[in-house]
Subunit: 213 residues, 2 copies
DNA sequence: TCGTTAATGAACTAAACGGTACATACATTG
DNA sequence: CAATGTATGTACCGTTTAGTTCATTAACGA
């Protein structure tokens, strides 16, 4: 990114911090934690490496801030999902589809999660504010599952986390393993037609499973 | 790993090479490509860093050799799966369960795949011998799907790659995302009871989907 | 308007890291 | 048993990398 003209290079702490965070999110998602270079992050902003240490303290704290921000965004998006008063099967299909869309819309988040898993979630664990972040996603599904069981259309031997895990697994795989799976099976996971097919399949799978007698 | 007594430090090219490869597999799976240290790999063997360059040429070639070996092992294991003459639904459940078991038995392979996806499969692409490695896994499923459709018990709008992707997604997620998912939802994915539950669920999901009217 | 402090940049440093030069010992074969 | 190539270890090198030092500039309240 080109250095700004000095006259435009005004002081703006909030913007500097935000820009570092945004660029760091990209770089960590692209290169992993160890592969990411502090110098590269700095070069891709309008400020310098010095500011990373000024605002965050170091590479690791910057990475933790990135993680925290990314998970916060996800939570916000999840809370925007409303299955309204759809019949249970339609509601669960809708939740699956919206989750699917969201994953495809935010591949960098999925990549960050992969990176964090390589490190056995050691950084995530240190971000205290992220404990029980799963609750919202599970509670929405819990409500729909309850309705479905009540209406006698859903099986009763699974819980919300089971369902959420199935949906997550399918969605995460699409994005996180697109490169290797695409190569080995000659299927371009990001092509619109393929994506649409997978989206429909996910809905079919979840509904078929839950509604099976 | 402790240095061997000189009297035991015999020359054995094959063993030296194999040991480097085995240790490198561990270290790359634990730390990722950029995070892995050539010196650490060497220290964890009975030989020295010099030998990595002698046998493999460098860090990147060593990593490629690791990838190639890991994928080869997986293929060998896949070819050991036989669904015999089970009824189609039982056969597909069996394939899913064996795939599940295999993933849990080889977490380091799953981690390597994650690592490689972070790098957009750029190294995998260069290992020419791994092209179309997916074929065996797909062809077994293809045969079973054909039988099921013929018997009128399976839906006919999905192909073997669709089914394999669902199974892989679920299995890979268990292992690759155990750390973050476990943390966020308070579920220890590696605990035997949980694992057994997930194994059963996977079978239910796949069979329910394929057999749905 | 002037002093104080938050914000910023350029240059520097020490350590870590991938890779190599060189010397040498072992094993095989003629 | 020489001769020759394979196999191995030690010590070192040049670069990269995270992190720091120090000086400076913009903003803002008194």
């Amino acid at each position: 990114m080109a250095r700004l003209d000095p006259s435009e290079r005004i002081r703006d702490a909030a913007r500097t911090r935000a820009e570092l965070l945004a660029v760091a999110t990209e770089v960590f998602a692209e290169q992993g934690y160890a592969g990411a270079r502090v110098d590269e992050i700095a070069e891709r902003t309008r400020t310098t490496k010095r500011m990373i240490y000024y605002y965050f303290g170091g590479k690791e704290q910057l990475y933790q801030a990135v993680l925290e921000g990314a998970y916060r965004d996800i939570r916000a998006a999840e809370q925007g999902i409303h299955a309204g008063d759809l019949p249970p099967a339609d509601a669960v299909r809708r939740i699956a589809e919206l989750t699917f869309d969201h994953h495809h819309a935010h591949p960098e988040f999925i990549r960050l999660v992969s990176v964090e898993n390589i490190h056995q979630a050691e950084h995530l664990r240190r971000v205290e504010s992220l404990r029980d972040l799963g609750a919202p996603a599970a509670s929405l599904l819990d409500e729909v599952l309850g309705r479905g069981r009540g209406a006698g259309v859903f099986r009763d031997d699974v819980d919300a986390v089971d369902v959420h895990m199935l949906i997550s697994a399918y969605c995460v795989f699409q994005v996180a393993n697109a490169a290797t799976f695409g190569f080995l099976f000659g299927r371009d996971m990001l092509a619109p037609a393929v994506r649409e097919r997978h989206r429909r399949i996910l809905g079919d799978v979840v509904v078929a499973w839950l509604t099976q007698g």
